[in-house]
């Protein structure tokens, strides 16, 4: 900046090196540029203009000859070969006129260029650079203090030397040293300078480092906040909890408090808490007097505090059932990553949640920890409850479907229940329903045995109609007519998170509270069914009859023959090359095709021969866990291990592992696993599987920071866009980005899968 100003202004009269006519010509354009693209671009443009019009090397205003100015980074300026002192530069800047400054991208109303050269150094107060006293009594000063010490010392020496009339060289050296210290005081990361260090050799952390980066002032302290009244531990599941409840351990509940104001109506109620004190539950930890004085409750002070309590006081009582809490799991990528739950105080030491809300948090129970925050004011509580209660977050703003649904066992259970072959005696059914909290069983038909579909229908409201698809194509479509499940099975497509309109429609028609309630019951019903019936996955699920094994072997033999044939074609050059590929690539693609076909065939054989409704198959079909492919891998064969869409390539010279011959292109030598997980893998096969496994692990490890950065950038760029009262989308500067949000003004989280479901409306109107 200083360089630009020096270079492009006259050394005598300090006018910009442009004729007056040209200034006027460019002025507007530059200003517009500065506004559009920022001052950096504007300055660059100005330089270009001046360089272009600089002809004679003379000032167009006073005709004085100009000299060449060089900057020796970081802070020494030369004019031709003579050094210019900062004092001189400053005096030149003082003469610059306001109009010219503006062209350089400075605002004359706010700054003067000479301010860039300091005459006095502002010293930050000690609060900014506290000294720490170690336990040993030693005092350790802050980095900034050290730097300031350096500056003062050198300055003193410079002063003495100048006064003593020391030789010019010494003065100049000291001058430079002082300049170095002052530069590093501001920024210890200047490119041309060695960073100033501690005696231990570790670089000093000076002003600019304090502001920068993730640990800097801005991102760490100003944008990141810390809070009290929060807790964190391991989570564990509890399906008996409501969907919008959170189980809080009692020891936690005795530390987390809710302030409650004493009024004449609740004084006796609150006195009870105070009397119990901090050590027994439910008690209170603090009493706040109207003048703001906080008093800690201890065994000694309890009695006095109970006496003292009167309207206007605030009691910080222990957390109780029904209190409001914010529950959160990192990474908080979603608004559903932080939801409001109501507290249930429970024994033991983990935070508990209903497994159905795992999906929005992306939580599992392999040691995940979660955070809990207790809002402290009425406003906060109201806002938390109205905006972030689990029910309000049920419909994802990402795709307009429910993010909360049944998972795993709950899906298997409902699938088994709603299948046509399920029936049980009426008394059993009533038992089952009662165990999930359904009391009104009048919807059950008056028969001795009731079908599973009828049991499931009890949960549905009488006027609910729905039609949808099942996961498996063999099953008929799901049809619900006036609250009765007529056909189809309940599987992941209907009950799972992020799929199907069943939950969405329930939410739409009967409201969030009801939808959440029904979902909770469905969840419990599924699990209750499994508990009643028994459900496991066993080794025998993967048993195959002898002929199936032979069939599979046949498939392998044929595949192997095909591959040998392909290799032979390749070796003799008879292979047809696919367009855009080399011969070798063509071969690989063809082999891969053959092998994948072989695996699919074994999959089919397995699917045909395995017991058709074994529990493993039920899980795969209902979408609870696993796929038919996983089953085939357990019973039939694991298949080709592909690394980046190719077979495994040579790791050693000409071969994948040292137990194969060189240039062996056969399936086994390139990562095809013939064995099944049940029969066990051969050493080489095991190795190939771990190769692919590790690749997948690497992939995840590399992806997380990349997508994290993308997310941060997106969030930063878009965070201040909001819908204004005139329905336009604008940024914080008031610039319009969209005239109508999303071209139709529909809020995704209020839509049904992103659209207004006209079909439903049509049928609703016509049916009436």
């Amino acid at each position: 900046m200083i360089l630009t100003l020096l270079r492009y202004t006259c050394r005598d009269c300090s006018r910009i090196l442009l004729p007056t006519a040209r200034i006027e010509q460019y002025c507007d354009r530059l200003k517009r540029l500065g506004k559009d693209k920022g001052p950096d671009v504007m300055r660059k443009k100005l330089k270009d203009i001046i360089t272009a019009s600089k002809s004679s090397g003379k000032c167009p205003h006073c005709k004085a000859k100009q000299k060449k100015i060089m900057l020796e980074k970081p802070s020494t300026f030369f004019e031709d070969d003579k050094r210019i002192s900062p004092i001189e530069i400053r005096s030149r800047f003082e003469k610059l006129n306001d109009g010219d400054i503006e062209l350089f991208g400075l605002n004359p109303a706010a700054v003067r260029p000479e301010w860039m050269i300091l005459t006095v150094l502002p010293i930050p107060p000690v609060t900014m650079r506290p000294s720490i006293t170690l336990e040993t009594g030693e005092r350790s000063e802050d980095d900034l203090t050290h730097k300031l010490g350096d500056i003062v010392r050198i300055n003193q020496r410079l002063f003495e030397n100048i006064n003593a009339g020391a030789p010019e060289i010494i003065v100049e050296d000291l001058w430079d040293l002082l300049q170095y210290h002052i530069t590093t005081f501001f920024d210890n990361d200047v490119a041309q300078l060695p960073p100033a260090r501690h005696r231990s050799g570790q670089p000093l952390k000076t002003l600019s480092e304090r502001i920068k980066s993730k640990e800097g002032r801005i991102r760490h302290n100003l944008t990141g906040k810390r809070t009290n009244f929060s807790a964190r531990t391991v989570i564990s599941p509890d399906p008996m909890l409501g969907l919008s409840e959170v189980g809080v351990p009692d020891i936690m509940a005795m530390k987390l408090t809710v302030p409650e104001r004493v009024t004449e109506w609740n004084i006796n109620y609150l006195k009870e808490f105070v009397r119990k004190g901090p050590k027994s539950y439910p008690g209170a930890n603090y009493v706040v007097r109207p003048d703001g004085k906080k008093k800690k409750l201890t065994d000694d002070t309890v009695e006095a505090s109970v006496e003292e309590l009167q309207p206007g006081y605030i009691v910080e009582r222990h957390l109780m059932d029904g209190d409001i809490a914010m529950f959160n799991r990192q990474p908080s990528l979603h608004r559903m990553s932080m939801m409001c739950h109501s507290v249930r105080v429970l024994p033991c030491k983990t935070l508990r949640l209903n497994p159905a809300v795992c999906f929005p948090y992306n939580a599992d129970f392999d040691g995940d920890e979660m955070n809990l925050h207790i809002p402290q004011t009425e406003e906060a509580r109201a806002e938390a409850e109205l905006l972030t209660l689990v029910g309000t977050q049920m419909i994802s703003p990402r795709y307009g479907l429910s993010v909360i649904g049944c998972i795993q066992d709950a899906i298997s259970g409902n699938y088994i229940l709603s299948r046509n072959d399920f029936s049980m005696s009426k008394s059993e059914a009533i038992d089952l329903l009662a165990s999930v909290g359904v009391i009104d069983v009048s919807k059950l038909p008056k028969k001795d045995t009731v079908s599973g579909k009828e049991i499931f229908s009890v949960l549905l409201p009488d006027d609910f109609s729905f039609s949808g698809r099942s996961r498996s194509r063999e099953e008929p479509d799901v049809v619900i007519k006036s609250g009765r499940l007529v056909s189809g099975v309940m599987d992941k497509n209907n009950l799972g998170e992020g799929s199907g309109l069943l939950l969405r429609n329930l939410h739409k028609k009967y409201g969030r509270q009801f939808a959440l309630d029904v979902l909770g019951k469905m969840f419990k019903l599924g699990i209750a069914v499994l508990m009643k019936r028994g459900f496991t996955t066993a080794l025998s699920d993967t048993d195959l009859p002898q002929e199936a094994k032979l069939q599979i072997q046949g498939v392998f033999q044929r595949a192997e023959q095909d591959v040998t044939e392909l290799v032979a074609q390749y070796n003799s050059g008879r292979l047809d090359i696919l367009p855009g590929r080399t011969l070798r690539e063509t071969l690989e693609l063809k082999i891969l095709e053959v092998l994948n076909k072989a695996r699919d065939e074994t999959g089919k054989i397995v699917a045909m021969n395995v017991e058709s409704y074994s529990h493993t198959v039920v899980m795969a079909i209902s979408g609870a866990r696993g796929t038919p492919l996983n089953l085939a891998q357990m019973a039939g064969c694991v298949g080709q291990q592909a690394l980046r869409g190719k077979r495994i390539e040579n790791g050693y010279n000409g071969r994948t592992l040292s137990c194969f011959r060189r240039d062996d292109l056969s399936p086994e030598a390139r990562g095809f696993i013939k064995s099944s997980f049940k029969s066990g893998l051969k050493p080489a096969e095991f190795f190939f599987q771990s190769v692919v496994g590790r690749d997948a692990l690497m992939d995840t490890a590399l992806r997380t920071p990349k997508s994290g950065y993308l997310y941060r950038r997106l969030a930063n760029a878009l965070q201040d866009l909001k819908v204004e009262y005139d329905e336009t989308v604008r940024d914080s500067g008031g610039r319009i980005v969209q005239f109508v949000y999303g071209e139709d003004g529909i809020d995704v989280s209020k839509s049904e899968g992103g659209v207004l479901n006209i079909k439903r409306v049509v049928s609703e109107v016509l049916e009436k």
Binding site: D36, G38, L106, A109, V111, I211, K212, I218, L222, T223, K225, P331, T377, E383, L387, R398, Y399, L578, G645, D699, L702, R703, K706, S707, Y711, R713, L714, A715, N716, A717, L718, Q719, D720, L721, K722, E724, Y725, V729, S732, G734, R735, Q738, Y741, E743, D744, I746, D747, V748, K750, S751, G754, V755, L756, I758, V761, V762, E764, V765, L766, K768
Partner: protein, 377 residues
């Protein structure tokens, strides 16, 4: 009467929504039903509208950022045809949103006009589009040191296959290699250097240059692949040059696309570029089997193209144009932003989110927007 109610409905609903209504509406409809229907649709639509203050930007960012963690890093993916590798997955999304000018895999999808789209001369057309360089059709280069001549043996069979005759070649070379007398005779190409001066090394350099010289086709298109897609032939290419391709008479300009957003901006304008951003991101998300509503992508694309130029979501693009200093400083390179702001004496009006977070104030979005007078304590 029925039409009255519906007409009214048409006026209140946005175009896209009404189109769906018209599609699904049964043909016969009694007046009262129509009225009831119109009211119901209008009500439902009203209930679905975004509320003022909704921070749609952050929701969009979350909706795109969150599935990012689930995406595979699989750089290459088959784009329908097994012969073609195209960048997909997270790297592609980053590429698009960064607004990168150089793509890792530029690609075009060229639709053809009838009768070519039915397969007539498809191979010939494809080869016409592909960039052909001299070394593609020449087998051997030799330098005649004495006469300052370069001789090249031409592969006549290949030339015939590509449909290049001597005249075309001579014309093309005249264009790309100046200062050289071109003479094509039979199977040999003789190039005589006009300038008398020039040592052997210069001739050698010239030879190397000539090897790479452009003979025919579209610059940048290194590979072509005719593919049958929904009963018509489409040419997929590696490398992209939309402007040039559209000049061919047999190309259907209306449907031909590229995955290079900047090229679209240059040739078709900003609105097309905006649509391209939406389409490209959506394509990736779709192939990954993820579900993200199109409205979020629209918003991102609109932000990127709001100034009439495609800008990436980086500190040089969208973020730099923010009106608030503190918002910019909180993103990246805070020192630079603070220094520039001080030089210009910028004022921060605290209208966006981060500044208010810094100052511990309610943010001016959502419920932070309406100002109510209330007493705390």
């Amino acid at each position: 009467m029925a039409s009255d109610a519906l007409k009214e409905l048409q006026e209140t609903l946005p175009e896209g929504v009404y189109r769906m209504v018209a599609e699904l509406l049964p043909e016969k409809l009694s007046d009262s039903k129509a009225k009831e229907f119109a009211k119901k649709v209008a009500d439902e639509y009203g209930g679905m509208k975004v509320e003022a203050g909704e921070s749609v930007g952050l929701v969009a960012a979350e909706s795109i950022g969150e599935p990012g963690t689930q995406m595979t890093l699989d750089t290459f993916h088959f784009a329908g045809v097994s012969e073609m590798n195209v960048t997909m997955g997270l790297p592609r999304i980053i590429e698009i949103l960064d607004g990168r000018k150089k793509l890792t895999t530029p690609m075009m999808e060229i639709y053809l006009k009838k009768p070519y789209s039915e397969g007539q001369d498809i191979k010939k057309i494809a080869l016409m589009i592909r960039e052909t360089k001299l070394h593609d059709i020449a087998t051997e280069f030799s330098i005649n040191v004495a006469d300052n001549r370069i001789e090249a043996q031409l592969d006549l069979a290949k030339m015939r296959e590509l449909g290049i005759n001597e005249a075309v070649l001579a014309k093309a070379l005249k264009f790309s290699a100046k200062g050289v007398i071109v003479d094509v005779k039979g199977g040999t190409l003789v190039l005589k250097v006009k300038a008398k001066e020039g040592g052997v090394s210069d001739v050698f350099k010239l030879k190397e240059k000539l090897r790479e010289s452009f003979v025919r086709g579209v610059r940048g298109v290194t590979q072509v692949l005719p593919v049958k897609k929904n009963n018509e032939y489409v040419i997929l290419t590696f490398g992209s040059n939309l402007k040039k391709v559209m000049q061919y008479p047999f190309v259907d300009e209306a449907r031909t696309t590229t995955n290079d957003i900047f090229e679209i901006e240059e040739t078709l304008g900003i609105e097309a570029a905006r649509q391209a951003v939406i389409d490209e991101v959506y394509k990736v998300i779709e192939t990954q089997g993820l579900n993200v509503d199109i409205r979020h992508l629209m918003l991102v694309a609109d932000v990127m193209s709001a100034d009439g130029k495609v800008k990436g979501i980086t500190r040089y693009g969208v973020v730099r144009d923010k009106s608030s200093v503190l918002a910019r400083a909180s993103f990246e390179t805070p020192i630079k932003h603070i220094i520039n702001a001080s030089l210009y004496g910028e004022v921060d009006n605290l209208t966006s989110v981060v500044e208010n977070v810094m100052l511990n104030q309610p943010v001016p979005v959502g419920t932070g927007l309406p100002k109510l007078v209330s007493k705390n304590k």
